[in-house]
């Protein structure tokens, strides 16, 4: 028997059989890209504010430096102007978005698990999910107000309605993505439905689940802002309600500041789930760009 075939030798496999992969290190081009798009964004903004808009309508879109001066650099003047009230509202909406997202994830993933178990359940559920996704919240507000007490609960419901679809569809797609031969391996060991779910389907679904999280996270922030528009009470109001006030009073700088901060919240949540995804599945999941 030739020596390379002796199975008791740990070196039976030569190290170069290992597939070497390129890990992307620090690349300056990774950072130049976002910088360029940001510069473009600011340029277009200046162009709109100073050139495109007619003189008498320029108050609608103050230039970037004006927004920084009047929106970001002023802490608190008058009843609702300045950065401080905007941040307070933003925090109020952020709480709704995050709690809503947590509820969405819980309900959405459970729904996907149920749908993955039987084909008829899947078929019975889809039309309603699509309906929920495309229903205009505006049209539902009277019904929501009539059925549910409490502004916070109403706002949470809006978040769930707006953000649930991607979680369900991505989780379901992931749960059904395990290969047939992998299923057979589990069948051969007499694995229970629960074992199959937790040790095969769920881990196989993780890459898709994280995609769902990232999409839904952004939608949850939108849902919170939309919910603020329709369901508000006295005292602290959400960023959506705040934006509505600025809009109606034509306070351009504050309006833009509030919009930028709400977008930043969406971005932060999006980046958080991207980071979480890398921690959870980065070791084994590959993304291919065809280089």
């Amino acid at each position: 028997m030739s020596s390379i075939d002796t199975p008791t030798k740990a070196t039976a496999v030569s190290p170069d059989e290992i597939v070497h992969e390129q890990r992307d290190g620090f690349k300056i081009s990774d950072y130049i890209g976002p910088f360029i798009t940001f510069a473009l964004f600011i340029s277009v903004w200046y162009l709109l504010s100073d050139v495109v808009l007619p003189q008498q309508k320029r108050f609608l879109l103050p230039t970037p430096h004006k927004v920084v001066q009047d929106g970001f650099m002023v802490w608190h003047t008058g009843e609702r102007r300045g950065l401080q009230p905007i941040l307070v509202s933003l925090w109020d909406s952020a709480k709704i978005a995050l709690i809503g997202l947590a509820i969405t994830i819980l309900i959405g993933m459970s729904l996907a698990v149920i749908m993955s178990s039987r084909r008829w359940l899947e078929r019975a559920t889809w039309p309603f999910l699509v309906a929920v996704q495309s229903a205009p919240i505006l049209a539902l507000t009277p019904l929501i107000r009539a059925l549910i007490d409490g502004t916070q609960t109403q706002r949470l419901l809006v978040v769930v309605l707006i953000s649930i679809f991607p979680i369900v569809s991505n989780t379901l797609f992931g749960l059904l993505s395990a290969e047939n031969s992998q299923h057979e391996l589990f069948t051969l060991q007499g694995a229970s439905r629960w074992v199959r779910l937790t040790k095969l389907q769920f881990p196989a679904a993780l890459p898709n689940i994280f995609v769902g999280f990232r999409i839904s996270a952004g939608l949850a922030v939108i849902g919170a802002v939309v919910g603020d528009f329709y369901f508000r009470q006295g005292g602290v109001v959400g960023i959506g309600a705040q934006i509505d006030v600025y809009r109606s009073r034509l306070w351009g700088a504050e309006l833009i500041t509030a919009i930028l901060l709400a977008s930043a919240l969406g971005l932060v949540v999006f980046l958080f789930f991207g980071w979480l995804s890398r921690i959870a599945i980065g070791k084994w999941h590959t993304t291919n760009r065809g280089r």
């Binding site: 028997m1 030739s2 390379i4 075939d5 199975p7 008791t8 030798k9 740990a10 070196t11 039976a12 496999v13 059989e17 290992i18 597939v19 992969e21 290969e179 031969s181 992998q182 057979e184 391996l185 589990f186 069948t187 051969l188 060991q189 007499g190 694995a191 074992v195 040790k199 095969l200 881990p203 196989a204 993780l206 599945i281 070791k283 084994w284 999941h285 590959t286």
Partner: protein, 258 residues
């Protein structure tokens, strides 16, 4: 002839068969007759290989033996708790590293952790993957993935080992190396092996007996005892008597293919 040559005490005529097909037929719901009256048995210390054209129902034999599919006629008796099944592809879990993949079947059978770790370490050693325990499937070559897959089945020390064309996708050198390793395992573990392939060389090199199967419906049309002892080495493939046996099997296969 084979019994005289190997001369091991495991293959006495009265050794009970671990896997026994008795007039097994299989007709799929769409009316396709995959197997027709297939009878043969595999004892401990026997390594039986089935060769045949693609789609002749070879794999169906294994699926029936492992109860993944129910035969429509005849009987197949086997101790289903003691089957190792090596699939066509490695079917590793991408999210588990080599160590955890090898532990998987033992984990599903609720083998206590300490024992599981010990058995996995042993299996990893046997297939030559020591030092690669922390690697994930995507970091391994095709041959190494297959080794990990083998180790995963070895952990339960099955008495009956079913191989469904496991090395078909590998390059020739890797394939020959793995042939030797399976042969080594067969010698040390003494399981009953049933191997499916469409490579005649592989069939002769690996087995104590080669069965030739016809297509549609699958029938055993010829059986060849392989007269070489179990201490086989790479060079056996180039000996005249090896080539001669391959030739005979090839003829039988061509006959079956008509």
């Amino acid at each position: 002839m084979f019994e005289m040559q190997t001369g091991t005490n495991m293959t006495e005529a009265n050794t009970p068969a671990l896997l026994d097909f008795e007039g097994v037929s299989m007709t799929f719901p769409d009316g396709t007759k995959a197997l027709d009256d297939v009878s043969f048995s595999v004892k401990a210390g026997e390594f039986v290989t089935v060769v045949g054209p693609s789609g002749c129902g070879k794999s169906t034999l294994l699926r029936i033996a492992s109860n993944l599919e129910a035969n429509t006629g005849g009987t197949c008796s086997v101790d289903r708790d003691s089957i190792g099944y090596v699939f066509q592809d490695p079917t590793l879990m991408a999210w588990r590293n080599v160590q955890r993949n090898v532990e998987l079947i033992a984990e599903l059978h609720k083998v206590p952790k300490a024992e599981r770790l010990a058995r996995a370490a042993e299996a990893i050693e046997v297939v030559g993957l020591r030092g690669f325990e922390d690697k994930y499937p995507r970091q391994l070559s095709g041959g190494m993935r297959m080794r990990a897959s083998l180790a995963r089945s070895l952990v339960m020390k099955p008495k009956v080992f079913l191989f469904d064309e496991p090395f078909g996708a590998l390059d020739e050198i890797t394939r020959e190396r793995l042939n030797d390793e399976v042969l080594n395992l067969f010698q040390s573990e003494g399981f009953a092996g049933l191997f499916i392939t469409h490579s005649i060389t592989e069939a002769v090199y690996m087995s104590t007996k080669v069965l030739v199967m016809s297509a549609r419906p699958g029938r055993i049309v010829a059986s060849f005892d392989v007269p070489f002892g179990l201490n086989r080495s790479h060079d056996l493939r180039y000996e005249p008597k090896f080539a001669e046996l391959c030739g005979e099997i090839s003829h039988a296969l061509r006959g079956a293919h008509q």
